[in-house]
């Protein structure tokens, strides 16, 4: 008898069909991986089980949880189930906790609600649970507020809330997507252990095949509100009988073809080529928060004396976890942040000096592509104006010339010149990232800084964008500084890699060498923690 049996679940929100004939079953103690790209309906399937669907949702079919028909249960019955028999962990730990309540209150709240325990009993149980999720109360008192914890620690608190009452079913919706790889590995380990020791069933929702491969007993693959493929995890991922499953697996391991050999530092140096970007002993620091009226602690050093070169046409990767100084380094190269010391020479121009003219000249050849294809465009401007924005640095160009350049840039990224008249909301996420790349290309730059350019994209779109970046490099000889936390993407696209930790490079070299034979313990930790489909299948 299945613990959770979803039969022919249908969902429409405001007449828009979202889910169609979704059928799933989870046995007690089983881990079911629900895989799919954004918009496939996997999160809404989970919210249907919790019955926390958005306003205007209409469901059909049946969801049976241990004998209770969820779609027909009263709200009071659902409140009794939620948090007690079904726990849920969400994607975004930074916003999943109430900022004005202590973590102790937030864990104890559910315990008190469902068991009627006294304040003191609930606090004691909350403390036990904190201990279990790896936040010993000695170091993390219950009186802490969420803003005093890191993302990984907050996700542990969310897990403590969800598991405090030993639910029979735990739903985890992309629980590690927002976290660094090393933290992701720790959180996945914690979930795996909790599920095993408390024989909970786990519905694990993710877009990452590497993650499910290492976690799930069975897998269901969703697309456009339907389940396309369903079966035991290892055979499903190995044999890839369903064409969509195969496409997903191939896209997630996609490596763009590189015309010409990778450009390696040592070869370039041997040929005595002049680097496009020369960074020497760069130090960037931020003033620390004042502790008293007259006491100011030493400034926080975000970047601590790093040196590297990027050659024309080279793709340099910069990897490291959040807070390691990656973005500060990128901002400094763009001239948005003055370094405290060190030199920064781009194409013969000294950027570090703070010389406005040099920075302006460098910026024409230096562009950036951001992570979020939704947030980086003004929604009220047409594409023509958005893409032409960097051209204000070249007042000598006439209107016709500018239009021509926008058209060429749009065509170079696989859009059409006619798209110039549209607004950003008319494009999909992947197309918007193409727009962002077109905007970077319009000035014909020599170096593009790409800050997690594919992290927010689905695997199939990600593969296309990687192909595009690779193609542009081969055609125009553009160099990239490619910032990413995703090692598989770095390996697919980049020539050399810089591994950054606490403002310093701990390891550097050609990508294959560094990732296949990491010498620094931190690099080893990173490569071991990165979820990898092939490795997980090999171990299975």
């Amino acid at each position: 008898m299945a613990l959770l049996a979803i039969r022919d679940l249908g969902l429409t929100i405001g007449r828009q069909p979202i889910l169609k004939d979704v059928s799933l079953a989870i046995e007690p103690g089983e881990v079911l991986g629900l895989v799919g790209e954004s918009g496939s309906g996997k999160s809404l399937t989970a919210l249907s089980v919790m019955r926390l669907l958005p306003h205007g949702s209409v469901t059909s079919g049946s969801i049976d949880f241990a004998g209770t028909e969820i779609l027909a249960a009263s709200e009071a019955r659902m409140c009794a189930l939620r948090g007690d028999d079904i726990g849920m962990v969400f994607q975004e730990p930074m916003t999943a906790l109430n900022p004005v309540k202590t973590i102790g209150e937030q864990i104890a709240e559910g315990i008190r609600l469902h068991t009627g325990a006294s304040r003191a009993e609930a606090a004691a149980r909350a403390a036990q649970m904190m201990e279990r999720v790896g936040l010993p109360v000695a170091d993390f008192p219950l009186s802490r507020f969420p803003h005093q914890l890191s993302g990984g620690q907050r996700q542990r608190v969310v897990i403590a809330i969800a598991c405090a009452l030993n639910p029979r079913l735990l739903i985890a919706d992309e629980p590690t997507t927002a976290l660094d790889v090393t933290i992701q590995a720790q959180i996945l380990d914690l979930l795996r252990d909790l599920v095993r020791e408390r024989s909970m069933a786990l519905l694990l929702i993710t877009h990452d095949l590497g993650v499910v491969a290492g976690m799930a007993d069975r897998i269901a693959v969703m697309r456009s509100g339907e389940i396309l493929d369903h079966g035991p995890a290892v055979p499903l991922l190995r044999q890839r009988r369903h064409p969509y499953t195969r496409r997903l697996a191939e896209a997630s391991a996609h490596v763009p073809t590189r015309r010409g050999a990778p450009i390696l530092d040592r070869a370039a140096r041997a040929e005595a080529r002049r680097p496009l970007l020369e960074v020497r002993e760069l130090v960037v620091q931020y003033p620390a928060a004042r502790r008293g009226l007259f006491r100011r602690p030493p400034p926080f050093r975000a970047v601590r004396g790093v040196s590297f070169d990027i050659y024309s046409g080279q793709t340099m990767a910069l990897v490291g976890e959040s807070g390691c100084g990656k973005s500060t380094l990128a901002r400094t190269i763009l001239g948005l942040q003055r370094p405290a010391s060190g030199t920064l020479v781009f194409d013969g121009l000294d950027i570090a000096s703070g010389d406005g003219q040099a920075i302006a000249a460098a910026r024409r050849e230096l562009q950036i592509v951001f992570q979020d294809p939704y947030g980086s465009f003004n929604p009220r401007h047409r594409v023509e104006r958005l893409v032409a924005e960097p051209l204000f640095l070249r007042p000598e160009l006439g209107r016709a010339e500018k239009q021509e350049r926008v058209a060429r840039a749009l065509e170079a990224v696989g859009l059409s010149a006619g798209d110039a008249a549209k607004y950003p909301h008319e494009f999909s996420g992947g197309q918007r990232q193409r727009l962002a790349i077109a905007r970077a290309l319009v000035n014909r730059p020599k170096l593009i800084i790409a800050d997690e350019p594919v992290s927010a994209l689905d695997v199939s779109i990600r593969a296309q964008i990687l192909d595009l970046l690779s193609d542009l490099r081969d055609r125009f000889g553009i160099a990239y500084l490619f910032i990413s936390h995703d090692l598989s993407v770095v390996r697919a696209l980049c020539d050399e890699v810089l591994v950054m930790r606490q403002g310093e490079f701990v390891e550097r070299g050609p990508v294959d060498e560094v990732f296949d034979r990491p010498s620094h313990p931190y690099t080893r930790e990173l490569t071991a923690a990165a979820p990898d489909l092939e490795r997980a299948l090999a171990q299975a």
């Binding site: 919790m50 969400f90 999943a96 900022p99 559910g110 507020f145 803003h147």
Partner: protein, 314 residues
């Protein structure tokens, strides 16, 4: 927390100081001789000189400012020219009307606006929400003196529940006084409540869309508990900000409302003082009103830190 509080207190004091300089300077740069202005065009030269001396106008500006501000600190506000009594006495007597009026309307404002805003947010998109917001739209648009006249007509003239105006004094016990202040407080508070309820509603709707609300629901908390325990406190920050600003409007509103209801309060005092060119009284009362607004905003700043732990560290 203590540092935050101390910081806000210092900022408040600095604001007060700047405000006092501005108030003093405005009186200073008014064209013409204040003494002549106060006495009118038919005054004799002797009378003007005497008044100039009494007001200290023969002394240098900086000295006069220091004298004025120093007097204010020890409670000496000078002597009213028209009433011939110490300004402090005058102000104390009038504040006994205005302060209860301001507090009553502030209370009314919060008690009406916040629950209405929460109610509308909880039933977002429903007919009840639409109706509440339509009424509040009217409330925003109505000028408070006209609303006051309407209230007088309905409750005083027609239903004869409360007096139409005037103030019996507190000596007759609290109830007659309170009764006289009721309509003015309603007239002051309701238009502001319309604004605040809209702010509360939109703040609540924003908060109800947050991830942690979903987390709370996933714990099994019923909707109502989520509303009170998780949403309200987070929505309070913008509500408190607007409330602090509205207090200034209430204060300014008393000048009109006290005239409509014929209440002997500070608003009426300042109005009369201006028409009678009693600059000493104007200066002091304006400064008093400024101080009360600054104090209320200080309280708002401190309550931010109580509501939001993230501000305590700052």
């Amino acid at each position: 927390m203590t540092r935050y509080a101390l910081n806000r207190l210092l900022v408040g004091l600095a604001t007060l100081l700047v405000a006092s300089v501005i108030v003093f300077s405005v009186m200073e740069i008014l064209p013409g001789d204040p003494a002549r202005l106060m006495l009118g065009i038919n005054a004799t030269e002797d009378a003007v000189v005497a008044l100039r001396q009494q007001m200290g106008l023969d002394q240098p500006v900086v000295l006069r400012y220091l004298h004025w501000i120093g007097g204010m600190v020890v409670g000496d506000l000078g002597r009213s020219y028209t009433y011939s009594v110490p300004v402090l006495e005058l102000v104390a007597e009038r504040a006994a009307v205005s302060l209860p009026l301001a507090i009553l309307s502030l209370l009314l404002l919060t008690v009406v606006a916040i629950p209405v805003g929460i109610f509308a947010a909880a039933r977002r998109g429903s007919a009840a929400d639409a109706a509440t917001m339509a009424v509040s739209q009217i409330g925003v648009a109505i000028p408070n003196f006209w609303f006051a006249l309407l209230l007088v007509y309905l409750f005083a003239v027609w239903l004869r529940l409360v007096p139409a105006g005037g103030f019996p004094g507190w000596s007759a016990g609290p109830w007659p006084g309170l009764k006289a202040l009721l309509l003015p407080a309603v007239a002051l508070a309701l238009p502001q409540a319309a604004i605040l309820s809209r702010v509360t509603r939109s703040a609540m709707i924003d908060v109800l869309g947050e991830d942690y609300i979903r987390t709370a629901r996933a714990k099994g908390l019923p909707r109502a508990q989520v509303l009170w325990r998780h949403a309200l406190r987070n929505a309070l920050i913008p509500v408190l900000t607007i409330l602090g600003l509205q207090f200034a409007y209430l204060i300014a509103g008393t000048i009109i409302i006290e005239n409509v209801f014929y209440l002997p309060g500070l608003g009426r005092l300042i109005f009369q003082a201006i028409t009678q060119r009693d600059l000493i009284v104007v200066e002091s009362v304006v400064m008093l009103l400024v101080a009360s607004v600054i104090i209320v905003n200080l309280i708002v700043d401190l309550s931010y830190a109580i509501v939001d732990p993230r501000l305590r560290a700052a």
